[in-house]
């Protein structure tokens, strides 16, 4: 097999080692954390913005799609290839370009792994707040594309609240710089628009992020319940007391048993639900809030409230939570994770609905999610070799999302739209809303060569998606 003309051009732009084109190599790039559709025609690994510009110009000239890719941990198919084209992998653009502690900023290339930035700034007492559960693998470029969240976004916001500026390549090869190291740069907030645009408007090549001072004190609690309803009521009660924990996570009995078997985090095997709660800040504030939260949980019939006594205990509790998806991979050939959001006061009602949907379709559903935000992650267990069961899972998931929309919520809280939910966008957006989004996309990407088939409905039916297991990391 001989490389095509486009491959030869790509070789000239980068170097021959930086281009993959053989089918066996391309196979590795046909999937992300959600699923796969088809392999790309080439994968290229640029090392500079100039190379990205040349790649984009080549793609524009040849009219082939360009799909930017970080670590491929995304859960909505944002990095999946739909119509072939060139995957631009940022695996080699992973430099932390600048750490500026006094200005509380860092400038990074998109391929920097999320956790690596926090590790690099840790000695100064700083960290990068967004903490998707995949943070050991996922890249900041990917976080920007999907506007990723994580357990600690309850108090501090998602990626968009921590990104101040971007360097991005437009489909015509022009390089723009949005935002700045300082705040409130005059003009439209293009940074805010580009974060979460899933690589459909521009290809981000550099990111200015906010660094946050590490809190003096973090306290972690585990509240154990005999019923799911008591746990969800506690969530609303904590908010009603005026307490904003740094994280407020829930795991149901099914999930926590699977997690416990896999990680031995010390979760009680016989409970119906647990809340994993973290408070942060000044020592005095954290201590007082810990006492208050414990009291609220006990008032709402928690069987027991445990406190992590040291950082090892804390890490163990979090290890269980962050590895929950992987743990479920041990007990089911595949699972499909959903990402709907509802007002947190509707949690009791919603969890009941999820259980009913599971029963209706004969599917086991686990729940592990960001309860404080009302951001659900029902995990639908199935066997992906069973075509009929796969279809039932998709129907069940859609029914849950429809309910989220009816409750005034959203179809995605942090995983993004990608190819997973673009056809469901009409559940929460009108034709006029979507038309404006289309116009804005066209302002950046008029020929549509950047990451086609994502975010906006294509008019094709959904349900054709091949849902595959994603072991391990996810938010």
């Amino acid at each position: 097999m001989r490389p095509s003309r486009i491959i030869r051009e790509l070789n000239r732009i980068t170097d021959p080692q930086a281009v993959l084109w053989r089918p066996e190599d391309l196979m590795l790039y046909e999937y992300d954390g959600l699923s796969s559709v088809r392999p790309p025609d080439a994968v290229v690994f640029p090392v500079t913005t100039e190379q990205v510009v040349k790649i984009v110009k080549l793609a524009a000239k040849e009219n082939v799609p360009v799909i930017a890719r970080g670590a491929g941990t995304g859960l909505s198919g944002g990095a999946v290839v739909t119509e072939g084209g060139i995957v631009v992998s940022f695996a080699r653009m992973k430099k932390i370009l600048e750490i500026d502690i006094e200005n509380q900023r860092a400038r990074v290339q998109p391929g920097v792994v999320n956790l690596d930035l926090s590790l690099a700034t840790s000695d100064y007492g700083y960290y990068f707040v967004p903490d998707p559960s995949s943070q050991k693998a996922c890249t900041i470029g990917g976080n920007v594309a999907e506007n990723s969240g994580g357990p600690h976004t309850l108090a501090y916001g998602v990626t968009t609240n921590h990104v101040l500026g971007l360097e991005a390549v437009l489909p015509d090869g022009n390089v723009i710089h949005t935002g700045a190291k300082f705040c409130d740069r005059p003009g439209y907030d293009l940074t805010g628009l580009l974060v979460g645009s899933e690589g459909t408007m521009a290809i981000v090549t550099e990111i200015i992020v906010r660094l946050t001072r590490k809190p003096e004190c973090a306290k972690t609690l585990l509240a154990i319940y005999n019923t799911v309803a008591d746990a969800t009521r506690s969530v609303a009660a904590i908010t009603a007391r005026g307490i904003t924990p740094a994280a407020l996570e829930m795991m149901d009995g099914f999930t926590l048993r699977a997690v416990e078997e896999a990680t031995h985090a010390g979760y009680p095997m016989d409970s119906a639900a647990v809340l994993l709660i973290e408070v942060e800040g000044l020592l005095e504030a954290a201590e007082e809030q810990t006492d208050e939260i414990e009291a609220v949980c006990l008032e709402n019939h928690a069987r027991a409230v445990r406190r992590a006594r040291n950082s090892q205990e804390r890490d163990l509790l979090w290890k269980g939570r962050k590895n929950a998806f992987g743990a479920l991979g041990r007990i089911s050939p595949a699972f499909y994770v959903q990402d709907g959001v509802i007002p947190r006061t509707r949690l009791p009602e919603m969890l009941e609905h999820i259980a009913q949907v599971g029963a209706k379709y004969g599917i086991t559903v686990g729940n592990v999610f960001h309860a404080g935000d009302g951001n659900l992650h029902p995990l639908l267990m199935f066997d992906n070799r069973d075509r009929e069961e796969s279809q039932r899972v998709l129907k069940a998931a859609e029914e849950i999302l429809v309910k989220c929309a009816q409750m005034g919520g959203s179809i995605t809280g942090e995983h993004g739209v990608g190819i997973e939910k673009n056809e469901m966008m009409p559940l929460i957006f009108s034709a006029d809303d979507l038309e404006m989004m289309r116009k804005l996309k066209a302002a950046f990407n008029p020929a549509g060569i950047l990451n086609p088939g994502k975010v906006l409905p294509t008019g094709k039916l959904c349900g054709e998606l091949r849902v595959q297991v994603s072991a391990g990391a996810a938010a």
């Binding site: 006094e102 509380q104 007492g125 999907e146 506007n147 969240g149 916001g157 998602v158 968009t160 609240n161 022009n174 390089v175 723009i176 949005t178 700045a180 190291k181 300082f182 705040c183 409130d184 005059p186 003009g187 439209y188 907030d189 293009l190 940074t191 805010g192 628009l193 408007m201 001072r213 809190p215 005026g242 904003t244 000044l282 020592l283 005095e284 504030a285 007082e288 959001v341 007002p343 947190r344 006061t345 960001h370 935000d373 009302g374 005034g408 919520g409 995605t412 809280g413 942090e414 739209v417 966008m425 957006f429 006029d432 809303d433 404006m436 989004m437 804005l440 302002a443 950046f444 906006l456």
Partner: protein, 460 residues
């Protein structure tokens, strides 16, 4: 002039059909109160619903009439002079709460609601929207969003861009579109809300905004650190940044600003220029912790911290958050410059501003959000036009060379660059390499260019 009256009357009638007879005023004296940089509108339209706003915009677009939306006019002086101006679209009468769920910490309101009324409305449940923008209680929610206005509370809470969960927006096509939603976490679709916030009404008209609310702090205390010199102020700011404290507000005030903040206070006699003011919130134990840590930090810098009385502090914070209202009556020539900078450059910029104004023998007051990197410079007295223009340019150059930008928030129209006065100063400064995209974004929303034409950056 009877012909003008006839034209205005027919315009009045056109809009009256859309919003009702009593909701359109074309009386020139009334229109004059809505002047923007010396131009009066031909009529003022007061819609009372989102649908009416959409209808007004569509009609204006069809007839190619220039519209400037507004409510209480507290920020109307920010912007280049409009190229043209036919209709003032007042959102004043759209002042209702559309949705409120205190248990979810969510409220949706119309844009004409006064900020003070919103705070009172949610304050019953001990909730608040932690913003303290210029214009204070009298400015409207819509105005805050259009300008992305914020004040010292930004230190802890960020700006409106961090608090808005969703918007409903009327477009020049006459549609009402939705961005975001009513839940605290939502990444479905492009984030149009970010784009609208801070767009100065040049893209669409916000007809409803949903905010995430915050619990009010149990107690608050204000500490004053008389730093004496900018060098000590910078040293203290660095120590504060490295400390575990998370103050709600932290500002650096020069002598003039500190005095204006606490007029007649017994302390005003011994104000040491400059001062850092810090507000802490939390339980009594947390407040005592602040007192202790601030005392330590201050002693390390060779100064002593003072705790301000609660009533004096509350008044002082509201005065400096809305210093323009305090100053405009006594200083009709007032010019307000907002400088945005990397945090580390704030003190240096203040020093350069002081030098530049001293050369021109001009009284200035500066208020800096030193933990954020925003410096407001108030030029109190008038200067002859060319001198003032030179001074603003000097300060802008200083800001740019320190890695920041300068925006004119408030000044007399004569100073502003406009189509007929290209030699005066531009409100926004030079656009960057993303301007072409901004132009396309504007084109997508407002293809005929009827919304606040020419007022925004690059005369968009």
């Amino acid at each position: 002039m009877p012909t003008t009256t006839t034209a205005s009357d027919s315009l009045r009638a056109e809009f009256a059909e859309l919003v009702g007879e009593s909701q359109v005023i074309s009386d020139p004296r009334h229109c004059a109160t809505y002047d923007v940089d010396g131009k009066d509108p031909r009529c003022v339209v007061y819609p009372s619903s989102a649908e009416q706003v959409a209808a007004v915009l569509k009609h204006a677009a069809d007839r190619n009439l220039a519209v400037i939306p507004c409510s209480n006019l507290t920020k109307i002086r920010t912007g280049n002079p409009p190229f043209r101006y036919d209709v003032a679209l007042s959102l004043k009468e759209m002042n209702r709460a559309a949705y409120y769920e205190p248990a979810d910490l969510v409220v949706s309101v119309e844009p004409g609601m006064k900020f003070g009324d919103l705070q009172e409305f949610v304050g019953r449940d001990k909730l608040w929207l932690p913003l303290d923008p210029p214009g204070g209680a009298t400015c409207s929610v819509g105005g805050i969003l259009a300008a992305n206005a914020s004040g010292p509370l930004r230190q802890l809470y960020g700006s409106a861009r961090d608090m808005v969960l969703g918007l409903r927006i009327a477009t020049t096509e006459g549609k009402i579109i939705r961005a975001g939603g009513r839940v605290v976490k939502n990444v479905a679709g492009y984030d149009l809300a970010k784009l609208l916030i801070g767009s100065y009404w040049t893209l669409g008209v916000i007809v409803e905004a949903t905010f995430k609310l915050y619990p009010m702090p149990l107690n608050r205390a204000t500490f004053i650190l008389p730093t004496g010199t900018l060098g000590i102020a910078r040293d203290l700011r660095r120590r504060l940044q490295q400390s575990p404290l998370e103050p709600m507000r932290m500002v650096l005030l020069d002598r003039e600003a500190a005095t204006l903040g606490r007029p007649g206070s017994p302390a005003s006699a011994d104000i040491h220029e400059p001062e850092i003011w810090i507000e802490a919130g939390g339980s009594k134990r947390v407040i005592e912790r602040y007192a202790g840590t601030l005392d330590e930090l201050s002693r390390g810098a060779g100064i002593s911290v003072k705790r301000e009385q609660a009533d004096v502090a509350e008044d002082a914070w509201s005065r400096i958050a809305d210093l323009r209202t305090v100053l405009t009556t006594s200083y009709p020539q007032l010019v307000i410059l907002k400088t945005v900078l990397p945090i580390a450059a704030t003190e240096q910029f203040i020093s350069q501003a002081q030098q530049a104004s001293a050369q021109g023998k001009l009284r200035i007051a500066t208020i800096a959000l030193v933990g954020v990197g925003v410096v407001h410079v108030y030029l109190l007295e008038g200067l002859p036009g060319p001198d003032l223009r030179d001074l603003i340019n000097t300060l802008r150059n200083a800001a740019v060379s320190l890695g920041g930008e300068l925006v004119i928030e408030w000044c007399a129209p004569e100073i502003k660059a406009g189509p007929d006065r290209p030699n005066q100063v531009d409100t926004w400064g030079a656009p960057g390499d993303d301007f072409e995209i901004m132009r396309k974004v504007k084109q997508a929303w407002d293809p005929k260019g009827i919304l606040a034409p020419g007022r925004f950056i690059g005369v968009l």
